[in-house]
Point group: C2
Chain length 323, copies 2
């Protein structure tokens, strides 16, 4: 009996498909490729596959109980953990793809500089063909940062901030385990103590029950009035109403959200027009960057060999813990 892999991805170039096909065939698997417009065909094929590589809860729902491994090409897998019914097989392995660190870190550096350098205000000036150039700017150099989440994204952000002369980078993680990219790492339980000495808060946390509204109204009030908040993790981590209130009241200097709750943000949501807020429609980690796509495929191929050899998979998700 053949061992089949269903691959339902639109980001794969011809070269990337070949890379997967070569690896699969080498270890005795047959890959079946489908793009986003071939849902029915993918679902039919999936019925005799033991592996699914996709980013589609809907397709996963159609998988048989014989599916052994679902590899998500996304970093966040909250949607699969929050609702176990997406898996017909309760023991199906779930892996995520932590390959977005570079592209998301570049997004974070960009919006950090846009906030510190008052870019939205200058853009408004320029749209009116006006000339005004004396807004007070700030710098990454000599500034202090707190990064919530010390995974692939947090580390890539920290490395770039360090390269630009950041004075202090504090990491916060569940374990509080030290990591060389950060000056200090504390457990998330120390958040209340860290917020008052934070100038720029970067949030890169997975979506789990513990992270829902981790930045709530009380904690927003702990930040200095000249602080900035940047969220590239999950929209649920921030109390958006409280954030908009703080921004509009000048109790925060600014914010940049690439993730929101819900997405898309409703047309009439007050967040769209909050003061000093840079919104982007969940683009920081999209799959259009060649580097990201290559990293994703490399990870899948590495894991395919591990799977075939019975070794533990990279990025294996504890479905109860949620990441």
């Amino acid at each position: 009996m053949s061992r089949d892999i269903c691959i339902f991805q639109s980001f794969l170039t011809e070269a990337l498909r070949e890379r997967i096909a070569d690896t699969a065939e080498e270890i005795g698997f047959i890959p079946h490729f489908f793009s986003a417009d071939q849902f029915e065909a993918a679902s039919a094929c999936l019925q005799h596959c033991e592996i699914l590589y996709a980013q589609s809860p809907a397709l996963l729902r159609t998988a048989p109980a014989s599916l052994k491994w679902y590899c998500s090409s996304t970093a966040g897998v909250d949607v699969y953990c929050a609702d176990p019914s997406v898996f017909a097989n309760p023991d199906c392995l779930l892996t995520n793809s932590n390959v977005y660190g570079v592209t998301i870190a570049e997004h974070v550096v960009m919006v950090t500089l846009m906030l510190l350098r008052r870019m939205p205000e200058y853009e408004a000036v320029v749209r009116e063909h006006r000339w005004s150039n004396q807004l007070t700017v700030r710098s990454i150099r000599d500034n202090t940062f707190t990064i919530l989440g010390t995974g692939n994204i947090g580390i890539n952000v920290a490395e770039r901030l360090r390269g630009m002369g950041a004075a202090k980078i504090i990491g916060l993680s569940r374990s509080g385990r030290p990591c060389p990219a950060f000056d200090e790492v504390s457990p998330i339980s120390a958040l209340d103590e860290v917020l008052p000495r934070t100038r720029i808060l970067v949030m890169a946390l997975p979506g789990t029950p513990e992270t829902v509204h981790i930045l709530d109204r009380r904690r927003i009030a702990l930040l200095p009035a000249d602080a900035y908040v940047i969220n590239v993790g999950r929209g649920t981590a921030v109390d958006q109403t409280a954030l908009a209130d703080a921004l509009n009241a000048g109790k925060l200097a600014g914010a940049a959200l690439d993730v929101m709750d819900p997405e898309p943000l409703p047309k009439d949501d007050p967040l769209w027009d909050a003061k000093n807020l840079i919104l982007t429609p969940h683009v920081s980690g999209n799959m259009t960057l060649g580097y990201t796509c290559e990293q994703a495929v490399d990870l899948f191929c590495r894991n395919l060999r591990r799977y075939a050899a019975g070794q533990p998979l990279e990025g294996l998700v504890d479905r109860k813990r949620g990441y």
Copy 2:
């Protein structure tokens, strides 16, 4: 007879004034401080000063022939070199202040990422409360850069791009002298050869007769259609009409200009609305960043000691060469 310094600067905090006063008094000078709204008083005082620290050609014009050193707090001094009549004393020393590398490099990183990540397009989407997130982005990582000008600004830009994983950084300078921040440095005469293999061109050149329209229509056509142009040096370095034509025709992917010719840009200039162009009103090196102000004052104080000791000054400008 007392030796007097006229200081006509608005960026000086109380602490920075004290730093200057302490240094001056230590070596037998008397500093006289004036802010921007005290032109007449400054000019009256200037009549018995041998040093002027300012950024004002108008004030310099009122200086006596006994002025021995004019320290400009700007990096660019083209205005003083193009018109020698601003100096009553033809032998007056002119120094500039190369202290803008950090803040201008942060601006360059910001606009580079904004261009590569299609930020102006996403901002237009968000202004309409729309959700659309599949524009193809590019990355600093693995990209190739050409930096015109290997001075304080060029080096700071190169270091930051390197820290973000740039694959290749070519520097171009008058001398072509190697510099560790760059993978290779060529003389500016090699520009025609370098442009076709440039993906992002960063221009940080002083304003001299040689740099006027150094990026002219012919050279813009040598850049690949997916290239970006960033100018933080002098507006005169770019043929703006040719640049706007190339942008509007899709023969360049985008550009970011912080400097223009003339400044302010006239209200009806077609440049304001050129496609994929990020304009900023000469803000990349403004004097609002505390770090920049401190660097400027440190440099002035260092030079004050050198001046008193008869040593050569840092940033001494060859008024004929223009920088």
